[in-house]
């Protein structure tokens, strides 16, 4: 499966409108059967609004399973990763925390196993 590298414009990502436009581009890539890698190496901060509109809504429409299988993030600073993860978490059902923990454990274990089989494969 081919992958596409997406690099958002700007150092500080703030507006929902920008995130929404980028998400629509990402959706087209996914529909076309491509995997998507977000290159965030130049990004210094992501607002809650931006993170929710991009990663939160992708969680809403495609499920958390899309991360690590079809979508990944490259080069993000720790605070940026925190913002993205929080946005995803906010969109997941807090009432199902036990089930969510199990799901994440399974997904992370599958990702580790895949990475171990082919450490250079990326997604």
């Amino acid at each position: 499966m081919n992958h596409r590298v997406v690099s958002p414009q700007g150092v500080d990502l703030a507006s929902r409108r920008s995130a929404s436009q980028l998400r629509q581009d990402v959706e087209k890539e996914l529909i076309a059967g491509h995997k998507v890698i977000f290159d965030l190496s130049k990004v210094e901060s992501v607002s809650e609004s931006y993170a929710d509109e991009l990663f939160g809504i992708l969680t809403l429409t495609r499920g958390v399973e899309v991360f690590g299988t079809l979508i990944a993030v490259r080069g993000a600073k720790p605070n940026v990763m925190q913002s993205l993860a929080r946005a995803i978490k906010e969109r997941l059902d807090a009432d199902e925390e036990g089930a969510l923990r199990g799901t994440l454990q399974t997904l992370v274990a599958a990702k580790h196993a895949k990475d171990a089989r082919n450490p250079r494969a990326g997604l």
């Binding site: 500080d12 809650e48 499920g63 958390v64 990944a72 969109r91 799901t103």
Partner: protein
């Protein structure tokens, strides 16, 4: 050094004298902080007052500065500043009208550039990240709630009589519908501006999360809800729209944790939080038509605060999942 900020602007007498003089359009001698400038720019634009109608008590001190921070441009004049703005995005962020995604992102980058520059020597990575994130949220929400009437600005300055302390103030002002009318619009029973402010700064409260008769964002939301392709796991929380919060609760939390100061006004109320954490409600001399705020941080106080590590099991697992490789 007396600093005239947002409170000073809101305590101006709005009446117009017989000779046409009005305090609202007069810039008196002395230092003015971003809270003053954003309120002036937003209200002048709201009232159709042009740059040429402003009166300067000390034009030699303020006119050059006003051109540097782009006040004439904010009020419809061409940019006449003759120098290169080498400190823009480092020591100050000019007045930027938040009218589209591009200007919202640009204002965020300029303000956050100032924050990073200020905080770099302090070793306060968490504060820097949290404040930058909040600035982005506030800009985005002023744009979406403020009907493209909002201005942003930031400025840092040296604290008088201190060794190395600096202050940074970040301010926003819009002439949208304000908190009270916004909460009424979504059906909340709130009876005063003071109550509306109090509601809006509570964690988890956002008018966008209340069921509204019609949502502003519904017009442009793409019809892309295509469903979870792998049903059964990772169930998601449904929401009518994509707004999650206003960032105000987080800003208040940062102001209190890092001993900053905050002024937040809407309608006939101004909430102030001083560096000791004391809250007070004041009344402006005139009703502010939208929302305006200014927050100020002192590097002396920021540097003394202890940063606690953040994170939890689910967030950490999600970060692992998001990373390109392990």
């Amino acid at each position: 050094m007396a600093i005239a900020g947002l409170s000073a602007y809101l305590s101006n007498d709005p009446t117009v004298s017989e000779d046409g003089h009005c305090e609202l359009w007069t810039i008196e001698r002395g230092f003015r902080s971003p809270g003053f400038w954003v309120a002036l720019a937003a209200y002048a634009r709201h009232q159709g007052v042009g740059y040429q109608q402003l009166r300067f008590s000390a034009p030699e001190r303020h006119e050059q500065y006003c051109r540097a921070i782009r006040l004439p441009t904010a009020l419809g004049e061409p940019d006449s500043y003759e120098h290169e703005r080498i400190n823009e995005g480092l020591k100050y962020s000019p007045l930027i009208l938040l009218e589209d995604a591009h200007s919202t992102d640009r204002a965020t980058s300029d303000v956050n550039g100032c924050i990073r520059e200020l905080c770099r020597p302090l070793g306060v990575a968490q504060f820097t990240a949290d404040l930058c994130e909040v600035v982005g949220d506030l800009h985005d929400n002023v744009w979406s709630h403020g009907k493209s009437t909002g201005f942003s600005m930031a400025q840092r300055w040296n604290v008088l009589h201190s060794q190395n302390h600096k202050c940074l103030e970040f301010a926003l002002a819009d002439c949208g519908i304000g908190f009270l009318r916004e909460l009424h619009r979504v059906g909340l029973k709130v009876s005063s501006d003071e109550e509306a402010i109090d509601w809006c700064i509570q964690k988890g409260n956002s008018s966008k999360l209340v069921r509204a008769p019609q949502d502003d964002w519904a017009q442009w939301l793409p019809p892309d809800m295509m469903g979870n392709p792998i049903a059964g796991i990772g169930r998601v929380r449904e929401s009518e729209n994509h707004h999650q919060g206003l960032g105000l609760a987080k800003l208040v939390s940062l102001v209190q944790k890092y001993k900053g100061a905050l002024w937040l006004a809407s309608g006939n109320a101004i909430l102030t939080i001083n560096s000791n954490g004391r809250r007070a409600i004041e009344a402006p001399r005139f009703s502010w038509p939208g929302v305006t705020l200014a927050c100020r941080f002192d590097t002396g106080a920021i540097g003394q605060s202890v940063e606690a590590p953040v994170g939890d099991y689910i967030t950490d697992q999600l970060i692992t999942l998001l990373g390109e490789g392990s």
